[in-house]
């Protein structure tokens, strides 16, 4: 062998042995169960190890020619002198994961009226008589809200009309859509409009306008007739019939992809996971979002901690997910959207833009709410609190405050500072940090403190349960893994 060859190639021994010569990259870990650990790196890539292998990390007895060594190295949990690109690669992946911060506020919710034709017991927003127009947003405030909206640096602006029942003030929706388009002619942002409605007041005039301006419809469907009508009492007890008729009407006029449905999980809903999913399938939907119970009413009244229903909801979630996976295995493509969002966080380098699982919290910086009276809130949940006399998260008023004053309001800046998970007790060393987020409104409502004690937090318990369940399915159930992999959109 020539000396030149020696200079090019190290001997095989150079790649073997050398126990302990590797170095850790930043990673966190947590027990998956009694036998296994989950390790996550700074970019959210994860690996599951049994105790035997984990202890090799603990006591640094990894052998450099072992599969485990190469696995940990390739997934950026360790590095050695033979690889110097890990840090640059991790930086790039981390940057991509944090890209949701780039655009700033994208979702702008306009509460065009508090009037509603329903009297749902779980509704957090004070319902008002349909004919009480003092609870409608004025054109003056709507214009100010639009000026505010277009000050956002985000290239993609989503304007969502909320209520009450938003269609009871359809004239203002028309006004806002037309004005937004007019104002955007010189600005050139990408705008999307969504009307959140129970579809009860929908008619040809409304849908013609939606068709002309490519407005999407987001409605509510809580499950089969008995459950939907129980959740959503209305004079005539016909909420379900109107919702289904409305969904079919929208599909026929605008197309099936222009309407989506959201469910609210009431305590009653927890008994009927299969029935709810079957209802969504029978209405032709290909997705459901299993939302957890909203704690606000309960928590506000009692000021108690919020663990009261987390176990029941987790059981509901697991049962529902198992059923949905079976449906997919039988050939019907149907997505559980909360799981799909988390899978995207776990298995892709991309950010999701999902406000509820962001660090810092997405309030204000990802979504903002203009209430009917011109008040500006950091999130939909913030205005729900406000309707219960807690205006802690009111950022200002369109008539009184500038964009700068509202977006730099002390309460918002404090909330953002306090919801960076790297600085939150328990979250800072939690392996699920790359997947999780912070909900200051939830914790303020349930614990009287926007950070909250995570050992007592239903938000933490719920998401820890969901993360572990998804990882167990990915690791232990090959068929479930194949189904869930098809849910990831990139």
């Amino acid at each position: 062998m020539t000396s030149a060859t020696k200079a090019k190639f190290k001997s095989l021994d150079a790649y073997k042995n050398a126990q302990g010569s590797f170095r850790f990259l930043p990673f966190k870990f947590i027990k998956l169960d009694n036998e296994r650990y989950i390790l996550t790196n700074i970019a959210g890539e994860f690996i599951v190890l049994d105790k035997f292998d984990f202890n090799k990390i603990r006591d640094r007895s990894l052998e450099m020619d072992s599969d485990l060594y190469h696995k940990l190295k390739s997934k950026h949990f360790i590095y050695d002198d033979s690889s110097t690109v890990a840090i640059d690669l991790l930086a790039l992946k981390y940057r991509t994961k944090q890209s949701f911060l780039d655009g700033f506020t994208g979702l702008h919710m306009f509460v065009v009226t508090l009037r509603c034709d329903h009297s749902c017991p779980y509704c957090q927003v004070s319902r008002q008589n349909e004919d009480t127009e003092k609870f409608d947003m004025s054109e003056e405030d709507a214009l100010k809200a639009l000026l505010f909206t277009f000050k956002s640096p985000s290239p993609l602006i989503k304007i969502e009309f909320q209520g009450g029942e938003s269609l009871l003030n359809f004239k203002l929706i028309q006004f806002i859509v037309l004005k937004a388009k007019e104002m955007n002619q010189s600005i050139g942002k990408q705008i999307q409009f969504v009307i959140a409605t129970n579809l009860s007041p929908v008619n040809d005039e409304i849908l013609d306008f939606c068709d002309e301006h490519e407005i999407l419809i987001s409605t509510s469907l809580d499950g089969p007739e008995f459950l939907h009508n129980k959740n959503r009492p209305k004079a005539g007890n016909d909420s379900y019939q109107r919702a289904i008729a409305g969904i079919n009407f929208v599909k026929s006029k605008l197309g099936p992809d222009k309407v989506s449905a959201l469910m609210t999980t009431s305590l009653e809903s927890l008994k009927y996971p299969r029935e709810i999913i079957d209802e969504y399938i029978s209405q032709g939907f290909n997705a459901i979002f299993l939302r957890s119970l909203s704690p606000y009413g309960f928590a506000i009244k009692t000021k108690s901690f919020d663990m009261y229903n987390t176990d029941a909801w987790l059981d509901f979630y697991k049962t529902s997910l198992a059923y949905i996976i079976e449906i997919n295995k039988n050939g019907y493509f149907f997505v559980e959207q909360y799981t799909a969002l988390i899978l995207q966080k776990m298995l892709t380098p991309f950010a999701t833009g999902f406000v509820d699982l962001q660090s810092p919290s997405g309030i204000g910086i990802s979504a903002i709410v203009f209430n009917y009276d011109g008040d500006v809130y950091a999130s939909d949940e913030s205005r729900m609190l406000a309707e219960m006399e807690d205006k802690s998260f009111r950022l200002g008023n369109l008539k009184e405050n500038s964009y700068q004053e509202i977006i730099t309001a002390d309460i918002l800046v404090d909330a953002l500072q306090n919801t960076i998970l790297e600085g939150v007790p328990m979250c800072s060393d939690c392996a699920f940090l790359p997947y999780c987020g912070s909900d200051p409104i939830y914790h303020a409502a349930t614990q009287g403190d926007m950070i909250g004690h995570k050992a007592k937090s239903g938000f933490c318990k719920k998401n820890m349960g969901v993360f572990k369940h998804i990882i167990k399915l990915l690791e232990d159930d090959l068929e479930a893994r194949e189904v869930m992999m098809r849910w990831i959109r990139v």
Binding site: F24, Y94, R95
Partner: protein, 96 residues
């Protein structure tokens, strides 16, 4: 002093590590810590004595102290790297 006592040798485990672990179990018990000549005495006061299982909680806490100690080691060893990765991620320099 209650009947429920956990002892940790602080020459082996940092008191900060122990406190971080105890914080995680604040939903199950309150903890009163006393320095006992190099041994940390942890008096455990259950939140709900009816369902409280001391031996089970003690076992979990002791396991978690070992894990938390490793977390501290990894965090200390990788802190500079973490800062470097984040700085590179948000630097204007082209990483590609």
């Amino acid at each position: 002093m209650t009947d429920y006592l956990i002892q940790v040798d602080v020459s082996l485990f940092d008191a900060e590590v122990v406190k971080q672990v105890l914080y995680k179990f604040a939903d199950q018990a309150s903890f009163n810590l006393k320095d006992n000549q190099g041994i940390l005495d942890i008096e455990v006061i259950p939140k709900d004595p009816v369902v409280f299982d001391f031996n089970q909680l003690k076992s979990v806490i002791l396991d978690e102290i070992i894990d938390q100690d490793l977390r501290k080691t990894i965090s200390q060893e990788t802190n500079d790297l973490r800062n470097l990765i984040i700085a590179k991620a948000f630097a204007s320099a082209d990483l590609q």
